[in-house]
Symmetry: C2
Subunit: 217 residues, 2 copies
């Protein structure tokens, strides 16, 4: 935390995992300071000694809060949910909570890790785009089918949940990697309904303290 | 569930994600039936129409319980924890819960997905072993450092938690991929202490209904 007691979010404007946490903080009305970690500049600021001491995984996001540092976006969101329960990001019913966590884990464990920067760097350059697209398409094929039975207005029923915090940044990744989203009408329409909400707007990669001028909107 | 009301676990003896759930079921004393899904036989039984209807991600584990089907191992364990809280697999203190989830997500999202079968198949055969080893080594480097500040007897303090359910199967994967674990004394000693516990023994890949005879112990 800062001297003023505010949590500190170590974030990169374009990181989909950081965006998940920014939405949670915004929805819960938690005031915080951003420390930008540029994943590309200086050969990657996440590899600096200072940042490695903070998160040995050398990844954003990390959140300093209540005297501890948490990394892994879903672990951060679950902690916020347990310590700042309003508004809730997990439904009350355990079966619906299971759906929310299943969708969140599918995206955070089954799609994003396979198309993130550190993995793509290990793939021959000419295959990188196809590699990322395959990971997203295979995940979205499953997700579209799952959402058809869980979704209401949003991913699970009619309340915004942790699953939605994972969905929107992942769809943005899909667009960046030029994945055709027309085969995914459920994903696309939920994404559209979420993107107009204030918490998703103010936390958007195009509106962060570290967003380069040419990408601002 | 079966007609007798028992939960059904769709599992593969060697799947580390299935093993996590088997340990949770054993610790909580939940009686269940196993339906083996052989990830290699018949060009992969997870690709069958019947199984895809059950889990569109075409992955094990999946658990039929209380009239629903849950996939994603951590979502399953969190559901079991909320509906069958004894013995608990998450500590009471939210900060310790955050540590448990952080370690679990690091393994389940940051290591395992990068070295699982479906990803390795996309890598040229001669690079597969190095690819898997790199994923494990990079994750273990971080994990070793994190455990030095969270561990007691086990990953977080002195109680067995969800983090331990992720650790043991991941160390088994490391051994399968011939990763030298001597640089990880904390990981190794926690793993050793856990492996002697009954719930880790009876759920071990060498003792499952679908373990091939030559691999049984």
């Amino acid at each position: 935390m800062t001297e003023s007691g505010k949590p500190i979010l170590y974030s990169y404007f374009r990181s989909s995992c950081s965006w998940r946490v920014r939405i949670a903080l915004a929805l819960k009305g938690i005031d915080y300071e951003t420390v930008p970690i540029n994943l590309i500049k200086d050969e990657g600021q996440q590899f600096s000694k200072d940042f490695q001491a903070l998160n040995p995984m050398k990844q954003v996001p990390a959140l300093k809060i209540d005297g501890i540092t948490i990394h892994q976006s879903l672990a951060i969101i679950e902690y916020l949910e347990e310590t700042r329960p309003t508004p809730r990001l997990l439904p009350q019913d355990p079966k619906k909570r299971a759906s929310v966590r299943m969708i969140s884990d599918l995206i955070a464990g089954g799609i994003q890790p396979l198309q993130n920067l550190s993995v793509l760097k290990q793939v021959e350059e000419k295959f990188q785009l196809t590699w990322a697209q395959n990971a997203i398409i295979s995940g979205f094929n499953a997700l579209e089918q799952i959402l058809q039975s869980t979704a209401g207005t949003y991913c699970v029923g009619d309340e915004v949940t942790m699953a939605d915090l994972c969905l929107v940044p992942q769809v943005a990744n899909a667009e960046r990697f030029k994945v055709d989203c027309t085969p995914y009408p459920t994903i696309s329409s939920i994404n559209k309904r979420l993107l107009v909400l204030e918490a998703f707007q103010v936390t958007h990669p195009c509106r962060q303290p570290d967003t380069p001028t040419e990408l601002r909107a």
